[in-house]
């Protein structure tokens, strides 16, 4: 399996800043998007992406091509850092500002696009973290199930089952805004 990043990582490990810049430009924005949606905080997202890249720089000099692509490895490291942060944050009360809209029909009809996006983000925040990760990888980052399974470190079957539960949960949590999401 050819990984276009392998050579860049080797060069970055030898001190080639241009190779490091290419890797950052290629991956950091998507990793940040995933982390931002996982954690709900821009600052935390930037921190975990920073952690992932520092790990990459640490291993770059002796990186050996293995089973996983570098991009997959970066996603996995970022997600693990997200899980760690979410575990540490669990004791902290949830942000009341991101309260879900009531599932009962009626109040949602006044929601504008930003409020609807906030409702979707809040519903995602309430999903168990692995379901959220699976949903984000497949529907936000548009990864295939096989790639998502590799990133999550699960079998494809387990990932599909996780996705099915996540989608069902998401739909239930957004019951109040289904009409605005194009569902009758």
């Amino acid at each position: 399996m050819h990984d276009p990043d392998t050579e860049l990582v080797a060069r970055a490990g030898r001190g080639d800043r241009a190779a490091a810049a290419t890797l950052v430009a290629r991956h950091s924005a998507r990793l940040h998007g995933l982390a931002r949606r996982m954690l709900g905080s821009e600052a935390d997202a930037e921190d975990v992406v920073q952690e992932a890249f520092v790990k990459l720089w640490t291993h770059a000099a002796r990186w050996r091509p293995g089973a996983a692509k570098i991009e997959t490895w970066l996603y996995r490291v970022t997600l693990n850092a997200c899980y760690d942060r979410l575990r540490r944050k669990r004791a902290v009360p949830l942000d009341e500002a991101l309260e879900l809209p009531d599932a009962a029909p009626g109040p949602d009809h006044g929601l504008d696009a930003p409020a609807l996006a906030a409702a979707v983000a809040a519903a995602l925040d309430e999903l168990p973290e692995r379901q959220r990760a699976a949903i984000l990888l497949c529907h936000y980052d548009e990864r295939g199930n096989v790639e998502a399974a590799e990133i999550l470190g699960l079998s494809v079957e387990a990932t599909e089952s996780l996705l099915a539960r996540g989608r069902r949960n998401l739909r239930a949590r957004l019951a109040g805004v289904r009409g605005l999401l194009g569902e009758v």
């Binding site: 950091s28 998007g33 930037e46 720089w57 000099a61 002796r62 519903a123 739909r171």
Partner: protein, 108 residues
């Protein structure tokens, strides 16, 4: 069927989420971290790579420490060759001769 509906719903819902671009300066900060990492670990890592390519920096260090300990251990366990021969001079033992004995020997 239910799964298909859920999938479509999830796709529609997540399409409502806009992109979450990194904050300005984020790439520069990542590259600053790269430069700092290269400065800090650069020399040691390069030396380790030279000594034992492909291994983490602690491996050549650990091999050197093991070799040193082994050398000290063997050095302490083996008898001094000079002592083993039964003769020789050692600062640890008082000399078996004295000026008087030498003078007496010469006068004989």
């Amino acid at each position: 069927m239910q799964d298909m509906d859920d999938r479509d719903f999830a796709a529609r819902a997540l399409a409502r989420l806009g992109a979450a671009p990194p904050p300005p300066g984020s790439e520069r900060r990542l590259l600053d971290a790269y430069a700092a990492r290269m400065r800090r670990g650069g020399r040691l890592a390069r030396l380790a790579e030279l000594v034992w390519p492909g291994m983490p920096a602690w491996a050549p260090g650990a091999a050197f420490a093991m070799a040193l300990l082994l050398g000290i251990g063997v050095g302490m366990a083996l008898p001094d060759p000079a002592m083993a021969e039964g003769g020789g001079f050692s600062l640890a033992r008082p000399p078996s001769f004295s000026i008087e004995s030498l003078l007496a020997e010469e006068s004989r």
